[in-house]
């Protein structure tokens, strides 16, 4: 982790405050010094190799739990008998001790595993951007949304040209690039002139395996007498979901979904303080103020404490960060009294795959989110707890950086618009920062279900925007490195022409 320019300058000024008057000259010079760091990132293959070496060493050392070291390597392996599953499920829920939820053979009710498949095992990756709104081109406005109750999603990204009222925010205004003009039109040109990380001709793509856990309902029905219906008379039923409520102040509701193997935790609202306001004055008095918002360190500490208290398994998740996107909206609002401040703020723990953090398509962390209630500072919800069983398959990668530059050149391009109408479109330049290699999540809608694909990607941060307007909401640009997907996205995701909309 490099020291930031700000910290570096602060150190300089501590020594000689008079240097502050030369800040304009110092900044480019110090930036150069920081940028001259000779260090290189470790090779991905090396990271994998050493990881395997360490796992082998653990086995040699004969850890009492060494059998469990590779437990996340095992697929769950089909049906599990109710006699085993149900007691374990309840032990897991009641005690929230992940280690007690494991079966004796080392596999877990909810697990983490990676299963190697042959090349291109998931079929063509082309067409993903068109088959589901969640995976359209990032300028398409759809963005990732929560599915199946357990997935963590970033806030939808507003179309770069979307209108925004002074007091609204990206959550309130869902604007799709398919909106029909007129609305403020700006063509953003994305520029990146720096170096690229090493690109490879083959990339590993992961697909989440969502085999539901089959738990016969009869195992539960025989001991549960409802009085007005014989549950045991329904042959062949499986238990899909289980809900638990905690009836005490600030209690929780916990939902276990065995169909998609996820657990979500929400406030049990009957047990949390509710507003009794009937007037606007009352609402104004109660609304969240900026001074109520805990610091990022406090939010992370609260989330970490909750995770520790409830033994949430974080072994496959990275360093947490706070989702502060709301602050950007707040800072832009001319009237701070009307500006929106959320009543809960998310702490995000990114899923780690192959040593890299996973993001959503807007470049924000994808994994487990812990929502902290701003005013009570208590954890309000936890999403993203789920089995992380993946199949892994090699696909052709994007090895030519020019292809990535071509893609960037086509982002937010209004080529679909008749030339005559383009005269009112102004142009802005977006300078991108050095890309970070990682993974991002895409969804493919097929056979009436959404398949989750984790694809190697480059994430470019937005370094500078010149000539843009206040409606530019993109925080990052994520470029998939699977050749089929990049090709598809380069040609897809365009807004639907007006005629097309009228015909619908």
């Amino acid at each position: 982790m490099k020291t930031s320019l700000k910290t570096f300058l602060a150190d300089l000024y501590e020594i000689d405050p008079s240097l502050k008057t030369h800040e304009a000259e110092l900044i480019p010079l110090v930036e150069k010094l920081l940028a001259s760091d000779p260090a290189q990132e470790p090779d991905t293959e090396f990271v994998k190799r050493l990881r395997m070496q360490l796992q082998n060493r653990v086995a040699e050392l004969g850890s009492p739990a060494s059998a469990g070291f590779s437990r996340w390597l095992y697929a769950f392996g089909g049906a599990v008998t109710a006699a085993v599953i149900i007691p374990l499920a309840f032990v897991a829920v009641n005690n929230m001790k992940p280690t007690t939820a494991y079966k004796q053979d080392g596999s877990a009710l909810f697990s983490y595993s990676v299963k190697e498949e042959g090349k291109s095992a998931f079929g063509s990756l082309a067409g993903i951007s068109e088959t589901t709104a969640m995976s359209r081109n990032q300028s398409g406005g759809g963005g990732p949304v929560g599915i199946d109750g357990g997935m963590v999603s970033a806030r939808p990204e507003m179309a770069p040209t979307a209108p925004l009222s002074e007091t609204s925010n990206a959550n309130d205004v869902m604007v799709d690039a398919k909106m029909i003009a007129p609305f403020p039109m700006t063509k953003y040109e994305y520029v990146y002139d720096g170096a690229f990380p090493e690109l490879t001709s083959t990339v590993a793509v992961y697909k989440r395996i969502t085999a539901s856990k089959s738990v016969p309902f009869s195992a539960l029905a025989s001991s549960l007498n409802l009085g007005n219906i014989d549950l045991a008379s329904f042959a062949g039923m499986n238990m899909d979901t289980v809900s638990f409520s905690q009836n005490k102040p600030y209690g929780y509701q916990l939902n276990v979904n065995l169909r998609d193997t996820s657990v979500s935790l929400d406030a049990q609202w009957e047990q949390w303080p509710q507003s009794k306001c009937q007037t606007d004055a009352c609402f104004q008095a109660e609304r969240v103020k900026l001074s109520d918002v805990p610091s990022e360190d406090q939010l992370i500490a609260a989330a970490n404490a909750f995770i520790k208290d409830h033994s949430i398994d974080m072994r496959h998740y990275g360093t947490p960060s706070v989702d502060m996107q709301w602050k950007r909206d707040y800072d832009r609002a001319p009237n701070k009294n009307d500006a929106w401040i959320p009543d809960s703020i998310r702490v995000m723990y990114p899923l780690v795959v192959d040593g890299h953090n996973v993001s959503d398509q807007s470049g924000l962390p994808f994994g487990i989110s812990v929502g902290i209630h701003v005013q009570s500072r208590k954890v309000m919800n936890v999403y993203g707890l789920m089995s992380r069983d993946y199949a892994k398959s090699d696909y052709a990668g994007v090895s030519d950086s020019q292809q990535i530059k071509d893609y960037l050149g086509k982002l937010d391009n209004y080529a679909w618009m008749p030339e005559a109408d383009q005269k009112d479109v102004k142009t802005a330049t977006v300078t991108l920062g050095e890309p970070v290699m990682g993974y991002s999540v895409y969804y493919r809608y097929t056979n009436n279900t959404n398949e989750e694909l984790v694809v190697p990607s480059l994430t470019f941060s937005i370094k500078d925007v010149q000539g843009g307007d206040q409606f530019f909401y993109r925080a990052n640009v994520v470029v998939p490195l699977a050749a089929d997907m990049l090709k598809e996205q380069m040609n897809g995701g365009m807004p639907i022409p007006i005629d097309g909309v009228r015909a619908m």
Binding site: K2, D11, D37, P38, L54, M314
Partner: protein, 188 residues
């Protein structure tokens, strides 16, 4: 050190060494970069990184969370691994501070587009004493806190801060020539 990291460490120390995996994932990049900066060789940095993590795995029970953070403990192992490496490669006596000079011969092994800047920077940084250079590198490039730097170098936190401050002051007085060197390497 956050609660999740501490939980993994505690779990490892109680015998569940499988929990070393997230610790590895959390620190591999930083440890590798630390070693690469001081060896300027991908091959050597990989070898030493392997050594560091294997040693850390085997001796994690000796880590005391109340006496420092895990990252600083890993850097200390890395520092010792570096010294051992240079000692076993024809340098019979070597201190961590002199490693900068020893590594200079390998600067050209950096990727082409970065090698010139790195080489010039390598020379420019020699205006600092080895002791100062180590602390500046830990602070500027590794982004470590003074407490962590103190833990790694064996100095007090106050002493580490003073050395860093003096180093920056010295860099500042020689800033024009240093930065000219960095900004226009081809013209010199």
């Amino acid at each position: 050190m956050d609660a999740a990291e501490l939980a993994h460490i505690t779990s490892c120390q109680s015998g569940h060494l499988e929990d070393f995996d997230p610790l590895y994932l959390l620190h591999i990049d930083a440890v590798y970069r630390y070693l690469h900066r001081r060896t300027l060789s991908r091959e050597v940095a990989e070898d030493l990184t392997s050594t560091v993590f294997l040693k850390a795995l085997e001796s994690i029970r000796s880590f005391n969370p109340s006496k420092g953070v895990f990252r600083a403990w890993l850097y200390r192992i890395a520092r010792n691994a570096l010294i051992d490496f240079y000692r076993s490669h024809a340098q019979k006596t070597v201190s961590i501070e002199n490693i900068w000079d020893l590594a200079s011969g390998d600067v050209t092994s950096l990727v082409a587009e970065r090698s010139i800047d790195a080489k010039k920077l390598h020379e420019a940084m020699k205006i600092l004493t080895p002791d100062q250079r180590e602390i500046v590198m830990l602070r500027v490039w590794e982004g470590l806190s003074y407490a962590e730097i103190a833990d790694i170098t064996g100095k007090s936190e106050g002493n580490a801060k003073v050395i860093y401050s003096r180093s920056i002051a010295e860099l500042r007085t020689k800033l024009p020539s240093l930065l000219l060197l960095l900004l226009f390497p081809h013209s010199l």
